[in-house]
Symmetry: none
Subunit: 268 residues, 2 copies
């Protein structure tokens, strides 16, 4: 699906932006780049540097003089537009566009073009009117001009998410998650309850908890622990800490029983 999505740049004036677009595309798994009447030398040091390893997309980009030539085989053409125009056009959000792509590209012959205008002035009305729909990336109204590569990044990201969603929906094996190793397996109810018994005993032992005046201490510790959904290994660590604490208390008892470790009948 992704190989049939074309990014079309019209009248770009900064080679660095073309490199940045190539990188954003390649990162998201897009490969089809078209350059319409660029207003700069394309393959410069700045372009290659910003492409950061994705400059093959720039070298293989189709070059045309007109938008029509760049999108002639496309079945859906969507223009990126920052402004609302005098003549309202069908508008989609980037997300809605992404969600529409699998359907649009269901036929293996179909092709989608996403068209981006000049850094300074965007797409002309004539170009916008050649599009089936316009896509507007939501921006801060006080600062709405996105960098060209950033705009491509956002739409390419939505394309990738839409494609990933189709992969998950079709490839049933995605749901067969690899079995957990024993350590990573979530602890069972029994194991967790065993931990709580141990925890309460140790907290009582070190004088932090009085079962006769429980307040909500154990309830709070339960809620905290259960919220984290402990794995078996984690529970073993927690029990190890309790055992080490208990050892301290025992060693201590043998020498000078503290107030905290006295039995209730000794305190009266």
């Amino acid at each position: 699906m992704l190989e049939r999505i074309r990014i079309v740049l019209i009248g770009t004036s900064h080679p660095g932006n073309i490199g940045g677009v190539a990188r954003a595309m390649h990162n998201m798994g897009l490969a089809d780049l078209a350059l319409v009447a660029p207003r700069c030398e394309v393959v410069t040091a700045d372009c290659v540097s910003r492409a950061s390893g994705a400059d093959a997309l720039v070298h293989s980009a189709r070059r045309t003089d007109s938008l029509d030539d760049a999108v002639s085989d496309c079945t859906l053409v969507v223009g990126a537009s920052a402004r609302s125009r005098t003549l309202p056009w069908p508008m989609v959000t980037p997300r809605a566009l992404g969600e529409r792509l699998p359907r649009e590209l269901a036929d293996p012959e179909s092709r989608v073009a996403l068209v981006f205008g000049r850094e300074d002035s965007g797409l002309s009305n004539d170009e916008l009117h050649r599009c089936h729909a316009h896509v507007h990336i939501p921006t801060n109204p006080d600062f709405c001009s996105l960098n060209l590569a950033a705009a491509v990044q956002v739409l390419a990201y939505e394309c990738r998410l839409a494609w990933l969603a189709t992969q998950e929906a079709t490839d049933s094996s995605v749901y067969h998650q690899k079995a957990h190793s024993d350590d990573l397996a979530p602890a069972t109810h029994n194991e967790i309850e065993g931990y709580f018994v141990h925890l309460e005993r140790v907290l009582t032992r070190i004088g932090f908890h009085d079962p006769a005046v429980p307040r909500q201490l154990m309830a709070r510790l339960r809620r905290f622990t259960l919220r984290a959904r402990p794995e078996r290994l984690e529970l073993n660590i927690l029990r190890g800490i309790l055992t080490a604490t208990e050892r301290q208390a025992t060693a201590n008892d043998q020498h000078v029983p503290s107030k905290a470790t006295r039995l209730p009948d000794e305190t009266h």
Copy 2:
């Protein structure tokens, strides 16, 4: 909501990227930028040029030497990570993160930090272990290294969409959640890190942990604790337990230093 989302850049080495990040943030309505130990002069011609009018964010950015200082008041810290690590951490997609933000930021005191690492090496394990969760932007497995500004662009875009969704959904008071009481408020990064320092000290003291042979003990305890998103009151309870444990160890030391509590130089 957007004003309480902080973008944190660690060890950035290209001023142009900082400018690009500022532009991406301002485009999406974010304004809080923190620079941790940048490895370059920050405000250069390249930075200002790439910021394209958003350089005020760079001038007003907070500058710190450590991640801890940059996120000390944050209630949710999410690190951008390209790699799956040896010790898996809770992972969210950018979309799931966005959807979670309105809830995370319902309390006017809460703050979210999105943390981005170095251009060449990302975030260190230590930095990743200071995060509640990691966010991974889905990429082409053959070309997965996003430009820093592009990565910020994608997450900032998700932040904006999440914010827009709350704007649309409301006007009704549904989203005006009652502020948490202080006890139920999520603990800040500072409070949680203070707990980890205390925890490591006590575990060492009782002979359960040897900082010289750390294995992954503290990392595992961090992951477990951060996953539960401790509330302030819960953290106070956990610290109370540590203090009670410490008291046992101290009383014990005064009578019969156990092998476990001997200093290393005493054992030889």
